[in-house]
Symmetry: D2
Subunit: 356 residues, 4 copies
């Protein structure tokens, strides 16, 4: 490859050809700024099946071969979470930029080390927090940062469906990273989770929690709640963000109206008095205005993830969802697991140094 092309393209290897890997391959193939060099998996046959017989992309079972290939500047990792730490560390140590599936690692302590390693090496460490790249979540972030929502009063996030009981993680670690990374992405920078309580259940004897209710207290005092469930017969992906000025309802299963912005306001009003006692109370006055359903482009989020990864590498900058974001999610997840282990006690979220 010529030097000039090297300025424009980043050589990429995808590691892991399981559930998510094929999506990384497909979107990498369609991203002009990336040049897919390798698909690496322990199971060569599976990797070949993902690529099909027409693609001119290398297949290998050797991670070392990938890391030692000078045509590879970046690695995208979609393996089980428990393997992330070793794979990411090796990639960073080999001087490769890394895009890694959520959760970043199996523990916040490991994540902290990777963040530091990437920082010191001047490499991009990006978390594939895919939902943050959907047009809906980007718009939510704008609506909050632009002041249209006002102060966030509550968050209610539901992510349930008849999902696969994972072998290596419980439902909290499988699904809640989506909700927590979205929360991290859309909330103002000065608002953060400070404590959590998690109630989990395994009613089918799967050996790990299959449903969880997670309460997350924010630094503002507001309460966010996340319900994740592998056993629901219906698929629901809804997040409500209640604000002092407007309330956002994001229903990802309703493409014609994914986002609805409710013009809603609350102020104090005197009670219509019924009894003398009630006259002493002041009540709230509700304003119910129009609902706006903003037009959103129908873009595939993972295409934007790939584009952001390539851009961050080319521009030598921090990506939108960097390792520090992945670490913040892990801080909440670890507190949630600790709470679940203690029967639902309220547990403080560790505020680890995230380098940013």
């Amino acid at each position: 490859m010529s030097a000039r092309a090297g300025c424009l393209e980043t050589g990429l290897a995808v590691v892991g050809a399981g559930y998510w890997g094929p999506n990384l391959v497909r979107t990498a193939l369609a991203t002009p700024a990336l040049r897919l060099e390798w698909l690496c998996d322990l199971d060569e046959r599976r990797a070949r099946a993902v690529l099909g017989r027409y693609a001119t992309v290398g297949v290998t079972t050797s991670y070392d071969r990938v890391l030692s290939d000078p045509a590879v500047q970046a690695i995208s990792i979609a393996t089980p979470a428990v393997t992330h730490y070793d794979l990411v560390r090796a990639a960073l140590e080999a001087g490769k930029h890394v895009l890694v599936e959520k959760p970043l690692t199996s523990s916040a302590a490991e994540a902290e080390k990777l963040v530091a390693l990437a920082h010191d090496a001047g490499l991009v460490l990006m978390c594939d927090h895919t939902y943050c790249y959907t047009p809906a979540v980007r718009r939510i972030r704008e609506l909050i940062s632009g002041g249209e929502v006002g102060e966030v009063q509550f968050v209610d996030s539901i992510r349930v469906n008849l999902g696969i009981v994972q072998a290596d993680v419980d439902v909290l670690w499988d699904l809640a990273p989506h909700d927590l990374s979205i929360l991290d992405f859309v909330l103002p920078a000065n608002v953060a989770p400070v404590a959590v309580a998690a109630h989990t259940s395994d009613p089918v004897g799967a050996g790990r929690a299959c449903l969880a209710h997670l309460s997350v207290w924010l630094s503002t005092g507001a309460l966010a709640h996340v319900h994740v469930n592998w056993l629901s017969p219906t698929k629901i992906r809804t997040t409500v963000i209640g604000g002092s000025r407007r309330t956002i309802v994001w229903d990802d299963m309703n493409p014609p109206a994914r986002l609805a912005v409710h013009d809603r306001g609350v102020d104090r009003a005197p009670l219509d008095p019924v009894t003398p006692d009630e006259r002493r109370h002041a009540l709230m006055n509700y304003r119910i205005g129009d609902i706006c359903i903003p037009a959103l482009p129908e873009e595939e989020a993972l295409m934007s993830v790939m584009a952001e990864f390539a851009s961050a590498i080319a521009e030598q900058r921090t990506p939108l969802t960097d390792g520090a974001a992945g670490l913040r999610v892990l801080n909440v997840l670890e507190a949630a697991s600790a709470s679940a282990d203690r029967g639902g006690d309220r547990v403080q979220v560790q505020a680890r140094r995230s380098g940013d």
Copy 2:
């Protein structure tokens, strides 16, 4: 009125002409087995406005006058919860049957006394757990008792809308009685709540909780969850009951398909092995079958409440939702309030003697 007519009809007084009273009046007027004698309210003008200028029903501000009227055999009470205990006790002591709005009283201790009083006097004490009389909830009860659902694995109940911040109660005491009374009604008799944890929030400065997440552990180990919220811009009334054989989704805001019975089953299956480590794990196998939406009559639940009240009086029997049911709901509510006061700690539900 002749003695013979007395056998067929029950003379009724409605007490309270506020939010719910007009509905009691309207349905009582339309119930042949009831003869509405009085509408009693502290505010005579409000009571007259409820009845309109055409109705031949007495209006009074004197509860004593109602209690001393021999034409009145039954009282239906729709006043603030804090007044229930005194009003119900006086009615029972005057030998009147009583139908009372939820919650039965402000405390389980009071409710216990009323249940005992009614029992000793041989009078009907019925709670207006209106939702238990909807065709949907009746069908859910049948589906569970008939074994079609199998073992209840989880319950998720959401009751949110832009509601009125009540002057006398928080959102838990205002809305959760609906969900808890439904749970009490549909679960098998040998399954009961044993512990609760409640996380509440008042983000608008109303002086009381405006939203609450309530986790309820059942005696089987299953986890039920109730989300009640006065601040939601959208109205959601959905209850999912996950069972080992089928899962019920009740969406009360969707009249054409209020009830959906999902033919769903889970059993163990070997994992498609990816790595040697994963081979050690066994995973679940999901069966996704048809969904059945049973045809339900469109009957008004409160008409059925009135009919059940009249029948229980005429047949001298315990109504479907008796004082004991109201007491069981209060036992959970009190534990929920205690949990909320302690920041969400898990609190045992008192198993008070409920007389049944």
Copy 3:
């Protein structure tokens, strides 16, 4: 009744205690400006059942008695359509104002006579085009008259459900009056139906059309279409009004979002040329903007009908939906029936003198 009260109240008789009559009675009882004097029906028992045993309203089987009662200034008629002409004429001749169910009469010729009769007598003749009084339809009218919709490009109205096969009318005369009266109400005054074609079917052997597709050409050249069907298993009441600036979707079965205003525009744009041939064509450019769901009050339309009737009488003015509106609807209905009789031929709409 004193003379002064007479200035404020109108004495009303409701005629017909069948399907719709009870709604007229209920709303009349709740309308302060009306004083319900009589419910008149050939079946006295049915009339008494509608009123219940508490109401102080007269019941009679004698229409003459109602007409001769000086306390009655107005008549509301809810009898089979075939009886409307005689009943309305008699009422007008007795000096009574009249509110009559749709369709105004069984033929446009009869309607023309009634309109003239009311006009000459200075009496209110109002059609109960109920839907025109819903907040949704009132808003649609405003959106069109205010220019927000632009030029109306097409209308598509669907009114289907598992309905009762009527004994006296086919589905066109039973259901299409709703759609046609709405169209008459919301379209600008200078736009009118000029021709229709109706395709009907009676697949269940009911002896009359049970479903119909009605194409209505407007004076602007735009095409409106109405689908009415008694045999649909699902209830659909949707009207789409496509405009050059915005398009309105009214879904009456979706209370949280009955009205959606789509910001949509079309203009010409060059085709992305694929073949030389295609380069010769110019294509359209579509703009897809936000959707606005306006907040609408949840008012019962029939209450507004009653209020409008009372106001028109008190103010001696033409009501919003007068006899002329009823006549215009009949002009289209008659043309539709003529088209159906001729196998779907396009039939011109008679432009009868409607007095306005």
Copy 4:
């Protein structure tokens, strides 16, 4: 290629890299029984962009080169309809099996010739009536052929959205082929369209019909109706098939409940008599039973199209949607265009010999 591989694989060329061609390429690449040899388009750059830089598939602008390649046994054509006749004829004359986009050709006369040509040459001529390969439509066909629906009483098909105003065809020829091919596929073999009437409109000045209402009379006397519209702000793809025993509602925009089977029946019943006149009428009795939402696999229809094409070639048999099906659709389309040209007159459908 070896003779043995020839038994297993069919060499395919895709012609046309415009709107639909990329989908044919993608699914062909993923179909083991097909080996994609060429993508042919007049615009080489566009063809290369569709394939991307990794695919080992030939690109050519020469149709002759494709036809003369012995490794190509089959051609899949996705070019403008006006070019179909020449391209398909040349392919058949070159001994290639053909899969062609809808509509088969621009006229029934041309289609008739192609059907005969393919028949005489013993080659597969298949129409890509994609919707017929969806799990929903396959199930509808089974429900009708299995007798569960009973006699088809009416059909109502809506296919509207903000679509592209095509340069070469009006909305009837663009969208109605979908509905007509579905109708052809699901109706019993002895039921066929006998007459049509089409009302069309071009309210945006596009130079061709942008919306159309098409009434189709079936040989049983039942009425089917198709509404196609390029100007609708909302996307609706719903087909209702009313039967004497059950009614099917297919809502393709509602993945969790695409198909709903309503247990509905009608029989005669005496009218609840209101007036003596009405006593002479007999009315219908409605039975409203449960709704069943069958579990359907989420398979991509075009993958099934490709598999059927490959199977029909390998098994030397007529495909499910053969040229004769395409011809039957064209017979109705031509009658519809003739009707539209005559202002909506009812036009008989030509029953051309379709070879089957």
